[in-house]
Amino acid sequence: MATEILMPALSPTMEEGTLAKWLVKEGDSVKSGDIIAEIETDKATMEFEAVDEGILGKLLIAEGTQGVKVNTPIAVLVEEGESVDAAPKAEPAPAEARAEAPAAPAQAAAPAPAPVADQSPDWPEGTPMKTMTVREALREAMEEEMSGDETVFLMGEEVGEYQGAYKISQGLLDKFGPRRVVDTPISEIGFAGIGTGAALAGLRPIVEFMTFNFAMQAIDHIINSAAKTLYMSGGQMGCPIVFRGPNGAAARVAAQHSQDYAAWYAQIPGLKVVMPYSAADAKGLLKTAIRDPNPVIFLENEILYGRSFEVPDLQDFTIPFGKAKIVRPGRDVTLVSFGIGMVHALEAAEKLAADGIEAEVIDLRTLRPLDYGTVIESVKRTNRCVTVEEGFPVASIGNHLSAHIMENAFDWLDAPVINCTGKDVPMPYAANLEKHALITAAEVVEAVRKVTYR
């Protein structure tokens, strides 16, 4: 049966091209793979191969013709003894048909964030409490989850025999052995990729980065391999993995070791992002992270590791993602923070209270999913908002919240939202400069005075 040969699209952007040269003539026999023409695309001159076998019955477009639209018939291929007229009309140009199809701006609506703020208590009233550091809380969370699920394992630099660079994994090697507490060489992209592969195969790795600064070497696997695979596989291939470690500035370690990655990771669909402040949250959220069937970025803080908090003494204590906590209620202004930013927010609230300004302090705890409801409800009560975070000011979490508040509580605002952030500079080493580069409680107090006009 005669078939038409159509002008091919030879690049992702080609709509028309020049039929530069025919390399065959009418009457020639061609077989699959033979180069029959040279075609100039928008990018290059390409050789065009025959797909079917046959005899070239007719060349429909002369060589040198410019502006030949994709899918225009350019030649007719016939079988031995067949006439050119037998060629059926080529199928309707699908490229154009398809170009039209999605033109209708039918919008699939994004699922709206839950407007209702869940402020139920994290544990029942009367629960016995114990005092522990953030470090102990993190270790306990891993120990409990590793005891409960054989597929959970920890890998990273110095997590085993060294007992953890920051001692978060202290004792875990002794308890679980080297099969489940895996010391790695200094190969961030390599072990992040191996961990991600193990998660694709059904294990539940906890990958510790000695600090998140080093995770920049591995960010391709975190984002391209871990966060996107479920979507790219049409839901087949989940990736239950936790990437955890200290994030943000420690003290006097300068620019390459002092950066808050909260906003970076919070931007990525497919990731969940957690940044706890208290020991109870560190424990409850890490347990949730390990159980979650998705990749979770768990951002800890070196300065907070040694701080003590009250933690509920419960058998199996978890905190759900996407639930912010009102740590300090107040009526005059809403302070929204997370991670170490909470230190400055709470200190500012204390100072402001002395001056008669009652600040409500919200700890977001998770940045993705983010509890918009609790923030909006609070802003509707206080009519003012200041965000507090350690990261850089441009495209910060505070910027995002400001936009969300403007869109959803504009009529309730009595002042612009102010974002308190780290300064827009690489972290300096000198002690005095470092202090100025970081966010301080004094700056938060100043911002609150601006929005309350007091």
């Binding site: 159509l6 091919p8 699209a9 030879l10 992702p12 699959s32 793979g33 695309t41 990018k43 290059a44 390409m46 050789e47 191969e49 797909v51 994709v70 140009a93 699908p94 490229a95 154009e96 199809a101 999605p102 699939a108 699920d149 597929t151 394992f153 099969r179 895996v182 060489p185 190969s187 992209i189 390599g190 072990f191 992040a192 990729g193 191996i194 991600t196 592969g197 193990a198 998660a199 694709l200 195969a201 059904g202 294990l203 539940r204 391709d220 696997h221 391999s225 695979t229 479920l230 979507y231 790219m232 596989s233 049409g234 839901g235 087949q236 291939m237 497919g270 159980r291 069937p293 998705n294």
Partner: protein, 343 residues
Amino acid sequence: MVRKPAAKQSTPNVSKDELLKYYRDMLLIRRFEEKAGQLYGMGLIGGFCHLYIGQEAVVVGLEAAAKEGDKRITSYRDHGHMLACGMEARGVMAELTGRIGGYSKGKGGSMHMFSREKHFYGGHGIVAAQVPLGAGLAFADKYLGNDNVTFVYFGDGASNQGQVYETYNMAELWSLPVVFVIENNQYAMGTSMKRSTKSTTLYGRGEAFGIKGEQVDGMDVLAVRAAGEKAVAHCRAGKGPYILEVMTYRYRGHSMSDPAKYRTREEVQKMRDERDAIEHVRELLLQGQHASEDDLKAIDKEIKDIVNDSAEFAKESPEPPLEELWTDIYAQDVPQGGAEQNA
């Protein structure tokens, strides 16, 4: 360059059924890819599309060395790997056309397809990313204590990425059951081997980490199978990873929009005429009187029908409904016990 033709190198230790299967599997890949190229030309397939034509013997030979439960993972030049491990031509082609009937519901495209059922872990668009991911699959099998092996496919181009060597180091350190298959088609997009490295072999780089390896004639499916069997036996015996540098050749450009000006037409034609892997098996079948010309014609027809059917399916399958934009971003359920249980 590929070594001299080694017609007598292949062991004749192969059954008629095996030869016919390799012929059929390689032909399916070639015809499928030709059809994909055609649909690309018609605008039905968009974006990047990297064809496997010329390299068929690599994946077909290695699949012949695999058992149920073994895993495989590869780069973006992945259509052949999917067909060879038994994934449906329809589902692959419909993914290429971005339709709901595709393996990823149209959301992955040419470079991102997966099948849990066939233990195919992608389809990865970032050069060499699949190498540590594949070692991670092997890590999971070792952790679970089964005897599965993972085949990690990557090219001569990926061999110059640093993460390959981080992975070699850990794979050997932890004795992971992984076969690193370097599909050396001699061009990293447009850059030939000799313009990118002074190493004369790529498998030899494993020696620095204590990993054994060898070079294999990738245009000879039986040679590939034999090398694959050796590598797999090494892994299953708990001896750690093995590297196969399989010397092959891609007839088409790097992707559909590559005019391939970095090599001569004569070079390509010479490979096609003298070293074609499918022709090689065809000759073995005819010479050994395992099949007649008519038998092979019948197979050709059978393959053509499968490919045409897949193309029809891929054209008729609807585009994904708009709701699909918002699905599969997060897994919802918290599975209990999680790990994939293989045989």
